[in-house]
């Protein structure tokens, strides 16, 4: 068991923090208000190498192992206050780059990865539908094979990066008779006739990250755009979620550290009743709680990342980390606001935004309830499987 980052990792961490603090925080209050995505910051991150961190060098990436990637994303979360930008980057990496890297053909990897890594193209994945959220595999989108093409019909909602994406990984059922085993992933180019962004969505937090509903009407995709195998969609989705849950939460660790440090500083500076508020036990205890939370959150997340960097699977550990860190980050923001009193509630202090941004951590990449369902499943406790036709008929 080794709890230390290597010297290179520490240097990398410092470099990411410096870059993020200097380059990524401009006009954030305004951009949050007007829901503006920063292309400038996106491109700077790509140039720095963030989007390509875990991708092999032959496709332009940084070839970093999972722990180093987590180290970089945590540093990014610490230095960059634009949680929406970080969210968009994570969605791009784990739900478009990783599925193509892990399940794509060599031709697909060569076509898509270099441009996704360089930031020229933005990627997304479209799974959620109006009638299927947590029960993702009961989706109603359909694909049909017609000669050398697949024809896709359906609609998707809550799709991150929708307005910016060139590369769309869409899940549709090719063989509904087979239930979830018919779900298949396709790579769609944004100019495909029949594909439209049907409605822009506005949200409580992560407002600098674009989101929309998508519509697919007789969208024709050449057979070479099948991702993985027919019926392989479930696994592709689950593998990308395993990566995403760990890595997206790494940036939360950085945000949690930032909130702790800001709160400590404020508790020392702000005086009431003739002394620093940090002298009052209810405040110092909150600081201690924030520290405990950060430390424990790091342990669960690093453990999951360590397993992945050893080439092992970490679906259970990833779910534990996702559920734990999501809650921890929300509580961290609540404590930070409380310590800052009325100032913490004001937009100018940029802590209320942290809370708005943090809340979605309990919803995306599988809600906290679903993470607990996955964890319970590892103990042999599972309810009726979704989208299994045999069971459906009985039920």
């Amino acid at each position: 068991m080794d709890f230390a980052w290597s010297e290179e990792q520490q240097a990398f961490r410092r470099e990411v923090i410096r870059f993020a603090q200097q380059e990524l925080n401009e006009n954030l209050i305004e951009r949050d208000l007007h829901e503006e995505f920063s292309w400038d910051a996106w491109r700077k991150c790509a140039k720095f190498g963030i989007q390509g961190l875990p991708i092999p060098q032959e496709y332009g990436g940084g070839d970093a192992d999972m722990l180093t990637t987590v180290c970089g994303l945590e540093a990014l979360g610490y230095g960059c206050r634009d949680n929406g930008l970080i969210f968009s980057i994570n969605a791009h990496m784990w739900t478009s780059e990783i599925p193509i890297l892990k399940f794509g053909t060599e031709a697909q990897k060569k076509k898509y990865l270099p441009k996704l890594v360089s930031g020229e193209w933005v990627g997304l994945h479209a799974m959620t539908e109006p009638m299927s959220g947590s029960d993702a595999f009961s989706l109603l989108s359909r694909a049909e094979r017609k000669g050398d093409r697949y024809v896709i019909n359906g609609s998707k909602t809550f799709i991150t990066n929708a307005q910016n994406a060139e590369v769309i990984i869409v899940f549709a059922n090719l063989d509904p008779e087979k239930g979830a085993a018919g779900i298949t992933a396709f790579i769609l180019d944004k100019d495909t006739p029949g594909f439209t962004i049907s409605k822009k969505l506005h949200k409580m937090g992560l407002r600098t990250s674009p989101m929309a509903e998508l519509s697919f009407v007789d969208c024709e995709v050449p057979v070479e755009n099948l991702l993985g195998k027919e019926g392989g969609g479930q696994t592709i989705f689950t593998v990308s979620m395993e990566w995403e849950r760990i890595c997206i939460m790494a940036s939360h660790l950085g945000a949690m550290q930032r909130m702790l440090e800001t709160s400590v500083k404020y508790a020392k500076e702000r005086r009431q009743f003739g002394q620093a508020i940090g002298n009052f036990p209810p405040i110092s205890t909150k600081i201690a709680d924030m520290d405990i939370r950060l430390e424990t959150a790091r342990l669960v997340l690093y453990k999951a990342a360590w397993l992945k960097s050893q080439g092992k699977h970490a679906l259970r550990e990833g779910s534990i980390a996702k559920a734990y860190v999501a809650d921890a980050c929300i509580q961290q923001a609540l404590d930070a606001i409380q310590i800052h009193g009325g100032y913490g509630y004001m937009t100018e202090y940029q802590i209320e935004r942290e809370l708005r941004d943090a809340i979605s951590g309990k919803i995306y990449s599988g809600t906290t309830e679903i993470q607990k369902k996955i964890i319970a499943g590892f103990h042999g406790l599972s309810d009726v499987p979704s989208a299994a036709p045999a069971r459906r008929e009985q039920g």
Binding site: F103, K178, G179, A181, P385, A388, P389
Partner: protein, 93 residues
């Protein structure tokens, strides 16, 4: 007849536990485990962890495809190939 100690003998208790938890009491070698819901997306990962532990093999993300885990027979074949590759590696070391 399943030979004691064979891949299948070690695999079947896991498969049957999953099947029974879904109300299925019989699984033959070629039954589709995914289409019947015995192995769902989460079940595949539990199966992978089980195989990695039981047979001391490493299974990559890209190997988690239906072709390998579709039925008892395909799992058996997949594990046998993994063990053979491991044996070859050990032998050439």
């Amino acid at each position: 007849m399943t030979e004691p100690g064979s891949i299948k003998a070690q695999l079947m208790p896991f498969v049957m536990e999953n099947a029974q938890s879904k109300g299925i009491n019989q699984v033959s070698d070629d039954d589709s485990l995914t289409a019947s819901g015995i192995i769902d997306s989460l079940g595949v990962f539990r199966l992978v962890s089980f195989l990695e532990e039981t047979f001391a093999v490493r299974i990559g993300d890209e190997e988690i495809v239906n072709d390998n885990f579709e039925s008892v027979r395909t799992i058996e074949k997949f594990v046998a190939a993994k063990l053979a590759a491991k044996g070859e590696k050990a032998a050439t070391r």
